[in-house]
Assembly symmetry: C2
Homo-oligomer: 231 residues x 2
């Protein structure tokens, strides 16, 4: 079935390089996981030699990886002193959530304009799943579905710069191991807001969805800061 002008991969096409991940990039990924999953606690000192041994690499690529993580503010480097897993201040947490609220609003506005029918069905599906987890009081599954909804809307906005920035800020907040929705009432309220968001999205009402998502995140900000001990 092969002909000279079919759709098979054209190996003569120019750059199309196979990018085998470099070691330092793999280390970045590994440390991302360690930090966001809790293998490295906020405030913890990172000993280069020790960590290099644990990862079975030399200090050189590890140091390159740590510089990347510092640029993403996941670790904080003090020259000639040491590297630490970033511990955000109250103000930084406040500011980051506030910025996220603006990105969420923008995601909602753009997604309302650009989402396809299939994507909308995916969001609806994740939404229904989330409602189920809520009724079953399955908090971890609820969080996961929640994240998925916001991610789907973010993708539907079709703006990669927005998406990258959003993910980067999300990674910074993740190590906090956020514990809101601790009261039944607040949880119910969050679910109600999601119902409204779903309606606005299906009506493709950008301003409404944007306002809802912004408000949703600002409430999360307040909830997180409320039960966050400053130590």
């Amino acid at each position: 079935m092969q002909t000279s002008d079919d759709t098979a991969l054209d190996l003569t096409a120019r750059p199309l390089r196979i990018e085998r991940a470099a070691l330092h990039d793999k280390i970045v990924e590994r440390l991302h996981d360690l930090i966001t999953e809790g293998g490295l606690e906020p405030g913890e000192r990172i000993n280069e030699r020790e960590l290099a041994e644990r990862l079975a690499v030399s200090r050189t690529p590890l140091r390159e990886a740590l510089r990347v993580l510092a640029a993403e503010k996941l670790v904080t480097i003090s020259p000639n002193y040491g590297t630490f897993v970033t511990r955000m201040t109250r103000q930084e947490i406040h500011d980051t959530f506030e910025l996220m609220s603006a990105l969420e609003r923008f995601s909602g506005e753009l997604a309302s304009l650009r989402i396809t029918a299939e994507e909308l069905a995916d969001v609806r599906e994740a939404h229904e799943a989330m409602l189920g987890h809520w009724q079953r009081h399955d908090l971890p599954a609820y969080y996961h579905a929640n994240q998925r909804i916001h991610d789907l809307i973010n993708r539907a906005a079709r703006n990669d710069a927005l998406r990258q920035t959003y993910l980067s800020l999300n990674r910074r907040l993740h190590p906090l191991r956020l514990s809101s929705n601790r009261s039944e009432a607040k949880w119910r309220k969050a679910v109600e807001e999601h119902r409204d968001m779903m309606s606005a999205l299906e009506a493709r009402d950008g301003p409404a969805l944007g306002a809802l998502m912004e408000r949703h995140l600002l409430e999360k900000r307040d909830a997180v800061l409320a039960d966050w001990a400053d130590g």
Copy 2:
């Protein structure tokens, strides 16, 4: 006048380290400048050995700096192949400006709530200066004053995460050497919009200022993309 409990610097206080910039951090700064000021052109290949010689450092700290710049998307690294000054695609430029428009709107909204009288006076001063440069057709000075206005508003928003993100995106766009306002009419329109923005800010009308700033940037996006040859 020295007493035991005066306000002099307490040298016994704990970390308070003097952070002497490390070499790789200086290299990052230097390359920032080289890229945004045009010493390194978009698309240009970076030869590690050669650049290390030019900067009179070894490849190790240079490589660390390049990883940081890659995290900021100012350079693009292809493993085992080479490092290049990032050349943005049309889509990336579109997305980045679009995201910037959201950040500008948010800056405007927050600044309207939080700006002090002194800061407002500074903005007014920069605004008047910009008008002067416009009347004298001094484009470089106009750009500078323009940047200063947006920067002052951004600072007045009092959100460091917003500010850092804004500056990072700005750096990415800077190497494009943007040339809009090429027609007298568009320039005049931009100035008019700035007058409106100034009024909204002085009236502390957040929604109005936000909407104006968003629109202002989206128009800039369109202008830039309009006279941007894809090669």
